[in-house]
């Protein structure tokens, strides 16, 4: 077990708490940067996709994991980002200008939607966002001038910094840089008063309010920030898929994002990356399952929703802290070995109280 001696308050404020952290994260970034040397185009594409998923996951994590507000319609923000970006590129706006516009637009959409519906609590909010997701999908279909409707919308792949988005190495670097930037932005928000206010709302609205947190404002802000991250992911996703069709941004994608944060670990940014890796490789996982199951079951299209559901239920019931939570436990197990006690993670249940009136 490592004991960290703190001599300055800034140590608590800094992102990396000690040199060990700094070393490991720098190493990780170096490895990521070197990946194109060893991986072929297919895997680079997969990892680019995982980066995009992670960015979207950060968005949803801020809303659900940190502010405690469920959204069952987050694919709508991916759609807003993707269509806005494709529309702007089609109309000759350069990439570097389009991305900030996408972020601002998604932020505003989040704020505008957030303000009326965030007075709702828990379950109602889940239902409302679900409905909004459907309505958004519908808007993507019907607003043909902007989205091309059911015919779809090809995404221009312009030059950027003299490179082409068709080049999978270049696209991988773009995604990686945006993921790193998004991570830093999220960490910064979370170590600032705004991020703490989000956590406060999640854990006790009453106390947050009594400490001066304007609940409506901060919930809307969380929605908007979440929208901005997810919209950015949408813009990158547009490049990744190359051709936008409205049914991409359906409820299943929204639920996939939720699966991502649940599996990764609610309330942790590490969790978004773990979750994205899991979700990114889910199709392969399912393919493997198909191979091992008897062909009468293996060839069924129902296998996919079935596994999706089983994974979700399993994590909610048995691994509520997700992969990241499990990782922390394993790490601690080895650090404390052989003195590790199971009870370390038993939550004290003595003071639980109910939401009932």
């Amino acid at each position: 077990m490592r004991f960290i001696f703190k001599t300055k308050y800034s140590q608590d404020i800094n992102i990396a708490k000690h040199n060990g952290d700094r070393f490991w994260y720098s190493l990780l970034i170096l490895i990521m940067a070197a990946l194109p040397l060893v991986l072929d185009d297919f895997y680079l594409g997969e990892i680019s996709y995982i980066c995009i998923l992670s960015i979207a996951g950060i968005g949803l994590m801020i809303l659900s994991g940190y502010t405690g507000l469920a959204s069952l319609g987050h694919a709508a923000f991916l759609g807003v980002g993707a269509y806005t970006h494709a529309f702007l590129l089609t109309n000759g706006v350069p990439f570097y200008a389009s991305i900030p516009i996408v972020i601002v637009v998604s932020f505003l959409v989040g704020a505008v939607i957030g303000i009326p519906i965030l007075r709702l609590t828990g379950m109602y909010l889940a239902i409302a966002t679900l409905a909004l997701g459907f309505i958004a999908e519908h808007v993507f279909i019907k607003w043909e001038h902007f989205t091309g409707g059911n015919r779809g919308l090809p995404v221009p792949q312009p030059e950027f910094l003299g490179m082409s988005f068709y080049d999978s190495v270049f696209f991988y670097y773009v995604c990686l840089v945006f993921l790193i930037a998004a991570m830093f932005a999220a960490i910064n928000i979370l170590r600032s008063p705004t991020g703490r206010a989000f956590v406060a709302i999640r854990d006790s609205e009453i106390a947050a309010q009594s400490l001066g947190v304007n609940l409506g404002l901060y919930k809307a802000l969380s929605f908007a920030i979440s929208g901005a991250f997810t919209g950015l992911a949408g813009a990158l996703l547009a490049h990744y898929i190359g051709y936008l069709a409205p049914d991409i941004f359906n409820i299943f994608l929204s639920l996939t994002l939720l699966l991502l944060i649940v599996v990764g670990g609610m309330g942790s940014l590490h969790g978004t990356v773990f979750g994205a890796i899991f979700v990114g490789f889910l199709p392969q996982l399912i393919a493997i399952c198909r191979d091992y199951l008897p062909s009468s079951i293996g060839s069924q299209p129902g296998l996919e929703p079935m596994l999706f559901g089983l994974i979700l239920v399993f994590f909610i019931l048995y691994e509520p802290l997700g992969i990241y939570g499990r990782w922390i436990k394993i790490k601690l197990f080895f650090e404390l070995f052989p003195t590790y006690k199971r009870q370390t993670f038993k939550k004290q249940k003595v003071f639980t109280k109910s939401d009932r009136v």
Binding site: S10, D12, V213
Partner: protein, 252 residues
Amino acid sequence: MSLFEVKNITVAFGGVKALNDVSFDVDKGEIFTIIGPNGAGKSTLFNVISRIYEPSKGEIYFENKNISKTKPHNISKLGIARTFQNLELFENATVLQNLLLGRHIYKKTNILSEVFFTPSARKQEHEYRLKVEEVIDFLDLQHYRDTLINGLPYGVRKNVELARALCTDPKLLLLDEPSSGLTNEETIDLGFWIKDIQSLLGITIIMIEHDMSFVNKVSDRILALNYGKILASGLPEEIKNNVDVKQAYMGE
């Protein structure tokens, strides 16, 4: 000149009047204790002051300003902080994060400066921390800075909640049953702290309490409630010998 004044407050839930035409005032620097049997309406009174419950009648004045229509999140900005009977801590956050939230009303950064964590954001964190450390030293919380709330024993949690309220630098502190659930030693410590909060920090305190020996030790004045109505108010000795109060407690 009174710091805080409650005028003819009435609160009704359905048919039940949890508070019925309650009026009193509290002077600057006082420790003012509210007592009364279970369900007397004590916590309801605090919740009206925090603007969580809407009174059907009456007004509340703080520093001669009518705060009966102030938004709930602006109450702490005026200098009123509180604790809760059933602890409302941020369970999945550390003690330090809980206390830093006590500084939220002094926030000057906007979302952009936070996203880029500009020097001004960093400086603000430093300033928050200095104040938080003062409170940590004051209430002996040094050991728990980085502990999650849901791993703390009950007594420490109560202490953290008090600390969080103090971090807002209040002029008026509302404590809802601060001693309930504490051990004897913890209650004795609490008594000293409350006295210190009054004398060293110059904060006025309104406190709800059941433990009468504790009440008599720290209070300057006492108000007794029963069934939402004022039974008696006055100095501790007066209340101790008040017939109505005795009866209300015996009658239980």
